[in-house]
Amino acid sequence: MSAHASHAPKRSGIADWLTTVDHKKIGILYLIAGGIFFLAGGLEALLIRLQLMYPELQVIGAKTFNELITMHGTTMIFLAAMPVIFALMNAIVPLQIGARDVAFPFVNALGFWLFFFGGVLINTSWFLGGAPDAGWTSYATLALNQYSGFGIDFYVLGLQIAGLGTLIGGINFLVTIINMRAPGMTFMRMPLFTWASFVTSGLILFAFPAITVGLVLLMFDRLFGAAFFNPDAGGNVVIWQHLFWIFGHPEVYILILPAFGIISEVVSTFSKKRLFGYSSMVFATALIGFLGFMVWAHHMFTTGMGPIANTLFGLATMLIAVPTGIKIFNWLLTMWGGQIRFPTANLFAVGFIPTFTIGGMTGVMLAVPPADYQYHDSYFVVAHFHYVIVGGLVFGLFAGLYYWWPKMFGKMLNETIGKWNFWTFFIGFHLTFFPQHFLGLMGMPRRVFTYLAGQGLELGNFISTIGVFGMTIGTILFLVNAYVAAKSSKRAPADPWDGRTLEWSIPSPPPEYNFAQTPLVRGLDALWVEKMAGNKGMTYAEPLGSIHMPNGSFLPFIMSLGLFIAGYGFMYHNYVVVGIGMVITFGCMLMRSLKDDPGYHIEPDEIDEKGVKA
């Protein structure tokens, strides 16, 4: 036993949530914050589609419309999709590898609060003179001072702060997965969701610096009079596009790989079979991640790079279809010969397969540069990326949430509401986005706040808007389901789905230390291996002993608050405020460095009291 085995003061209520460094609680924080931003982004989408329901409508003005599309994209990608992915990664990855927490619990909390304050900063723009309005890609020149308002400053500073949080979160998961695996949990025994999280974290590590560089340059152009992107002063407008997409394309895989991981877990569990072609799935995941960095310029075929560059990037993009196809067929063959059950989680997973296949198909079509000259920046592209991000990622996230909800919250989601949730969302989704393929080919550019009557675009837009109501109902049903589950007194069992991986070997929700004894992993699908060997639970790699736990801390919250304050100082050119914010942040860093925080221990007798064997 260690010399500093003192208990930290137990905090409760709000103070507990503000100070927690427990990966499970941080996962829930990510889910709540990401969920709220998802609702905001969804509301923006609803307004966008209402404006486009009929030609030449005046529901909202042109400028407001541009603010809505910008905030919809920015919010959904950076503030909703990524955090909900981080929610599941936080809640599940340490459990899947048999760890008691992530490698750096303090940094984990810091990552969350940075994301949170960055997101809040961007959204305060609505109340402080108008939201950013240059699109989520924020292309310079439109994003320069001469052509757009104050709102872009919120985008530039908010994304830098949130991006820092994502970057350190990614690094944390890389270290966690490399270092914190339980004995026997070799790389090639890791569940696919953990593998996907690992590759995604690697992509974050290399992709986020690129956008940070772009954002810093744009910040200098906007706030300090530089001219990186201003052609009148010798700048170049295309550089922003390269920096943005060197980040932006890997970002697509940062989003979709975790969904692949979730689908692999869900399909395998509910088919009662091990994942077909596990090693090729791992290989395909890594290959997609690698190729993802080689293809950014396919977002720029019409920029004027010339036929040689266009062709090379086009062919490289087509290659990604091969590992993606491998995944689809492996899922199909996983189900082949199984005993498939259809709880809501698996409905979303099965619904994912055709939907994502369509998104992938249009992706290959888009990889043909001469044809892309027609698709580019039209509604065809809007349809394509919503098939990938909603039909792929969001379906995957719903599958993951229905699957892991009992593990995260200790309550089961209601299956009847769940089925309604799936069908309304699924049908609404296809109604919304399927016609958009044709709208684009029929000549409708994206990001238009209206379209003229008599150009043949009325019907598609009308159907598309109707579909949004289905998705809205689906989302509301999910909220209802979460509320019903929270109110229910029925506890979820430890292993409600006849699971195969380690997270199902411990109670739902797990105790703060996760595993009273570190498990010994004896093969792929560690828990399934023990079930097949006739064991009741895992074999342990260590005797019951004292467990070292980290203390909670207010510092991550305050550190992020400092940057939040400094952000406003920069935007309003008030350097006193910048100074105050920076002093807060660096002061917290200093405190963290100087003050020794050894954590505390949980003794074996306490473990018994808490009823680990439950």
Partner: protein, 343 residues
């Protein structure tokens, strides 16, 4: 699983319905009804890649449907399914076949890519310089000494070599019926060629978000017989190398005076005027006011009353004209014809 299949059938029917009801869009606007060789080549590539992809989709759906029906858990079913690790044969099949399909697509992709990437000199193609502005289009024919705006006039069956740039933010130049788009980047020149196979009016759009009125940055393409085009260009050149002509009626003369005082600083007519706004030499020949409204007295007056209301964020200020002034201006501007273009 009945509801599952039903919803797919509904989806499929709905897709067909959407397609048939709306056809393939308007032939003036749709990329699905190509009116020139560039759009035709692009449409061929779309059909090729779409067919291959739909083939793959059908295979996936057949396997999925079979699996979902055949291997769903039946009531009372017990036991553990065989835990299959994988199959090298299958893995190789679904790696190699997609790869071969991609090669089928890659070959025309490369050849078409380079065909469309060609640049033609002035002996091979009509040279047109396009400059995009918030939120209108400027067209110059450097070899003909002609400049116009908003309505791009082109000869049929002749290659057109565009050189494109922007005066402010990035825009993208797109005439779906004639061919795919290219960005106009401030400070840089881009090249693209197109050709129209038949005469008529085609619709052009800006495809890159460029500010509040991005959605309203439409233009028209008037494709004329080659001799008609030559006559038009000759006439334009004559008008643009002379002083603006005096109109016939007194009201229009008054309009011209207002125009010279309030408008000529930004808008050129004939050989005179600024380049801040669209050249109006042949304004009355054009299809639309400001690219969006029908070109008639009523809509022109509406535009002159409050340009910001019709096209938010554009660079034309509200001139606070009286109704009399507007009336005179409208009458004057309706005389700005060069040659009645056959529709």
């Amino acid at each position: 699983m009945k509801s599952w299949q039903q919803s797919w059938r509904q989806l499929f029917l709905f897709g067909l319905l959407a397609l048939t009801l709306s056809g393939c869009g308007m032939k003036e606007l749709s990329a699905l009804q190509p009116q020139g060789p560039v759009a035709a080549m692009q449409f061929d590539l779309m059909k090729l890649s779409a067919s291959i992809m739909i083939g793959v989709f059908i295979v996936v759906m057949l396997i999925l449907t079979y699996v979902l029906i055949r291997y769903r858990k039946r009531p009372g079913q017990e036991g553990i399914p065989k835990q299959v690790e994988g199959s090298h044969t299958l893995e190789i099949i679904w790696t190699v076949i997609p790869f071969l399909l991609l090669i089928v697509m890659a070959v025309p992709t490369v050849t078409t890519g380079f065909t469309l990437g060609k640049e033609y000199n002035k002996d091979e193609a009509l040279q047109v310089r396009v400059t995009a502005h918030q939120f209108w289009w400027e067209f110059e024919y450097p070899d003909l000494g002609v400049a116009t705006a908003q309505d791009l006039v082109l000869p049929v069956n002749q290659k057109i070599q565009f050189t494109l740039t922007s005066a402010d933010v990035m825009h993208a130049f797109w005439i779906p019926a004639l061919g795919g788009k290219i960005d106009t980047n401030p400070g840089l020149d881009n090249k693209m060629w197109l050709q129209a196979d038949r005469t008529g009016v085609f619709y052009g759009k800006c495809a890159e978000l460029c500010g509040a009125s991005h959605a309203l940055m439409d233009f028209k393409v008037d494709v004329l017989e080659q001799d008609e085009f030559a006559a038009w260009a000759e006439k334009m050149k004559g008008v643009q190398s002379a002083e603006p002509a005096a109109p016939a009626t007194a009201n229009a003369v008054q309009g011209q005076q207002i125009f010279e005082k309030s408008c000529l600083g930004c808008h050129a007519v004939a050989g005179k005027g600024g380049k801040m706004g669209p050249n109006l030499t042949n304004f009355a020949d054009r299809q639309r006011v400001a690219g969006i409204m029908p070109n008639d007295a009523e809509h022109l007056a509406k535009w002159l009353r409050d340009p910001q209301k019709e096209k938010p964020g554009n660079n034309m200020p509200n001139l606070n004209l009286s109704e009399d002034q507007i009336n005179s201006l409208v009458e004057y501007m309706s005389t700005l014809k060069v040659q009645e273009i056959k529709r």
